[in-house]
Symmetry: C2
Subunit: 535 residues, 2 copies
């Protein structure tokens, strides 16, 4: 069924278990084979490191269904936090959610040519609507063949614009500002957990406007919403601007994107916002009566971001010890580890941990936390060494760990350890228990900022300018973003990609504006664009 590895390998699942099994580290569960414990270092094999993190931190698994992943509770909890934050940003900009059918009749698909061409090769097709059981064997019922095949949505422009036809009559019905959270299917031959899977979860916004200017303003607004989410919540710096024509969405006039740089120096497209012009309103014959009484075609945008963001989050911040999750998206903000070599020694530490946990949960809910209470866990493990326990929580990326041992109790104090700075350097000793909640709150904000600053510094350090194609070819062998002049043609872009595996990632809004000459053809170039190898 599957050409992918790992679908059935034993894995620990610690989530979804009642805490009642007291002896366990929350990370506990069955002991996996020793090999499974290993995390390959980033320098040894970045790609394997990524897969090790996803497996060891129990974020996702390959399934036995070709190309489809199982998002495990630890991974899904990150997605839930992402959804809550993104959805809040959408609602703050006037959008509402709705839900459209999973299936798209084949004839709809055909109506917008570019899109049909763009997605035809990766579509799952439903052809029958019934099985039959003969002597306990289940077969497709040949008599239940659909008159028209249904495509499992790879994206929903067609079914949504077919629906908008019934919703849009007059300028008073505009703008329509609608978003959908759902699953989509794009049949991928080579998959990679979170980054590229046949089924994935995402949101797709689809808006309709009376004027071109308004639709273009929306396209820009939404890419800036993605920028805001990426930078303020994921602590992941991004470049923002249009894609080249060669990289735009099939069916779009142009595509704006946010583009991030992973630690290995490869680029990741993290969110896109498309100006669709009147392509879909014309394809589905959607017209409205304007204020002046004329019939016009509305202007469209669409924009999406997916579970791919989880891959981006991992590859931006995590280290050889495991996950690093920015506090604003962390499923668990704080873990408190009471310690002691005997029940007697542990008891007061555990009592202090419980009191502290309650105090942390009472911290004011503000926008930083999405108006949610801080999420705190107590690690009641009594079997494993402190070192082992701390390593497990580091693996899981909990931003702050609190240690309370007998020596700390003597001073009514605790130790705060921050995940973004492992080891002694990241520890604050002797923090009085009564001020610990406020210090933890402050530390969360500091960690969030530090992760962004660090990622931005790392990305900026890779940004170079190539002044000739030869120079470019050398530079591209080193990780990172490269500024270079390009003549604006698809042919040149294709040539560069063929020869260097690099693509134009984005034409940043904020870049330098000097004109020059294309590094390949010598033709005029308005300004430099950003090249990189990409996921």
């Amino acid at each position: 069924m599957s050409d992918q590895k790992g679908g059935n390998q034993p894995a620990n699942n610690n989530q979804g278990k009642k805490q009642q099994k007291g002896g366990n580290l929350a990370g506990g569960g069955g002991t996996p084979p020793a090999d499974d414990k290993k995390i390959t270092s980033r320098t040894a094999d970045y790609s394997q490191w990524y897969l090790d993190i996803v497996r060891r931190a129990e974020l996702a698994d390959n399934s036995d269904v070709r190309g489809c992943m199982v998002i495990k509770p630890n991974g899904y909890a990150i997605w839930e936090n992402m959804q809550r934050a993104i959805d809040g940003l959408f609602k703050a900009t006037g959008h509402v959610n709705a839900y459209f059918p999973l299936f798209i009749p084949k004839s709809f698909f055909q109506k917008e040519e570019q899109m049909a061409e763009g997605f035809a090769k990766e579509c799952a097709v439903v052809t029958h609507y019934r099985l039959k059981s003969t002597n306990g064997k289940i077969e497709v019922d040949p008599e239940a063949k659909l008159e028209e095949e249904l495509i499992v949505r790879p994206t929903s422009e067609t079914i949504i614009w077919n629906t908008y036809k019934g919703w849009i009559q007059s300028y008073r019905d505009l703008p329509l500002l609608i978003n959908q959270w759902c699953n989509v299917v794009r049949w991928e031959m080579r998959t990679r957990l979170f980054l590229r899977t046949s089924e994935f979860l995402w949101q797709e916004g689809h808006t309709a406007h009376a004027t071109q200017a308004e639709a273009e303003a929306e396209t820009l607004q939404m890419v800036n919403v993605y920028r805001q989410f990426a930078e303020d919540w994921m602590a992941m710096p991004v470049l923002v601007g249009p894609k080249s024509d060669g990289q735009k969405f099939p069916g779009a006039i142009y595509t704006l994107c946010i583009e991030a740089l992973m630690q290995d120096g490869k680029a990741l497209q993290a969110g896109t916002s498309h100006f669709l012009g009147q392509n879909f309103s014309k394809a589905f014959d959607v017209q409205f009566t304007a204020e002046d009484g004329k019939r016009e075609f509305p202007w469209a945008t669409s924009w999406g971001a997916s579970t791919r963001l989880i891959g981006g989050l991992i590859m931006t911040h995590s280290d050889d010890n495991g996950l690093v999750i920015p506090p604003r998206l962390a499923p668990t903000h704080v873990v408190i580890c009471p310690m002691g070599r005997s029940d007697e020694e542990r008891a007061p530490c555990t009592a202090a941990a419980e009191k502290l946990a309650a105090a942390i949960a009472e911290l004011p809910r503000d926008d930083f936390y999405g108006y949610q209470p801080l999420r705190v866990k107590i690690d009641r493990d009594t079997k494993n060494s402190p070192g082992h326990r701390f390593a497990e929580w580091e693996l899981r990326g909990v931003p702050v760990r609190v240690e309370i041992g007998p020596k700390d109790m003597e001073k009514s104090a605790c130790v705060l350890a921050r995940r973004d700075i492992p080891g002694k350097e990241g520890k604050t000793m002797g923090v009085p228990l009564d001020v610990a909640p406020q210090q933890i709150d402050a530390l969360m904000r500091e960690i969030q900022k530090n992760l962004f600053d660090r990622a931005k510094k790392a990305r900026d350090a890779t940004m170079r300018t190539a002044n000739s194609y030869d120079e470019f070819k050398q530079m591209i062998e080193q990780p990172g973003f490269i500024w270079a002049h390009w003549d604006g043609t698809r042919a040149t872009e294709d040539k560069i990609q063929e020869e260097t595996k690099a693509t134009i990632r984005v034409i940043p809004f904020d870049g330098p504006k000097e004109a020059g000459q294309c590094m390949v053809t010598g033709q005029p170039s308005e300004k430099r664009v950003i090249f990189a190898r990409a996921y």
Copy 2:
């Protein structure tokens, strides 16, 4: 493509529009044909009344994809509130969310016989993974036929238990307490918006336990979670207990359910919790090492509730004026209508409305509101009469309407109108603006309670006891629940259904315990069960 009506009819969509179009009632948009305005009365045609409410309040539409609905922003906002509340109850009982593939290989399906038989006749089947475009015409690529067909999940027991095989090794991996929010497809020949559609949204919990007792306790816990949600949030009273064998889930040992009564006296199954025994662990050969070292099969439960609940909500509370939504689930809690015959008259009323809206949004966020701020709208309509404006908000089911006119302003007061009691009787005049927020908060809680009490009273009034089959046959022609003795056999249940269209809805935990004789066969019966005609 579709055999359903209404997919393309003009509809107003007011959601998803920027508020910037100031002159509009939020309910505004294009003026629909006069006919569209009508809501059939419940006594004239309950079934048409339901469809009119769904259409006029813009909750959902049939789509052009057979049997699939479009959930419009007004309807989806209710679903989001339901999801938030239900998800909170799941998390409070130790569950976490995850995500499993949309597709189920046909061979998995076959492994649990009862389930295969139960769902085979309504499965959408994916047979190909590619289209090809020939001269602009899109066709299924015959060369891209799947080796094994994929079923679009009608429910996920099989794919999830196939996955659990990799997750469960030892008793320390148990219990697994996992829930999934997703879409499912069951090919329905006769559909009805929200109540029965080919694709619907739901949650499905799937748990694994070391012992039978623990799994049965979970089954019971989860049906009580559904009861809690139905009664405390939806204000919809339910009966709780097992289904008869004839009505249980295919693959379950037994099914517990919550059963509600709609205003027309028909029953609605609103949530089910299944004890699956070891059926799925054995079918997928999932075993764990128990504390004593023996290999054992874990015990399973599954439980689900769907967008069908929106249909139940409508049919429990709404009236001939439109939707009635209990405050705890209302997308908009309060609408404030400033009035006046001129701009001069209106200006101070609008200013007061804005001040009041801000004060209401500042009310403490507590559990009653799911820790969300109260959602307030200001109706800035200047074109329509107050009567027209009020009717629109009644149609949409907003629990409390605040009216501020020039006369009220003279006294720094306002009028509060409650949706559950239309007309003058439900109005409180002369409420001082400075205490209005607190009064509104109190009113929300009163409305929530009143809706539940009223629905319970209406339901209880229909509950009758039949002492003979003849009596039963007469009674069943009147709406409601009927207590009757039954001999516990499938044959008798089938006979009753055939002859009266009534089914056993539930064997309530809380019912009277007197033994008696089956009304049909005279065989012994332990206690009476609940019959009704059902959706």
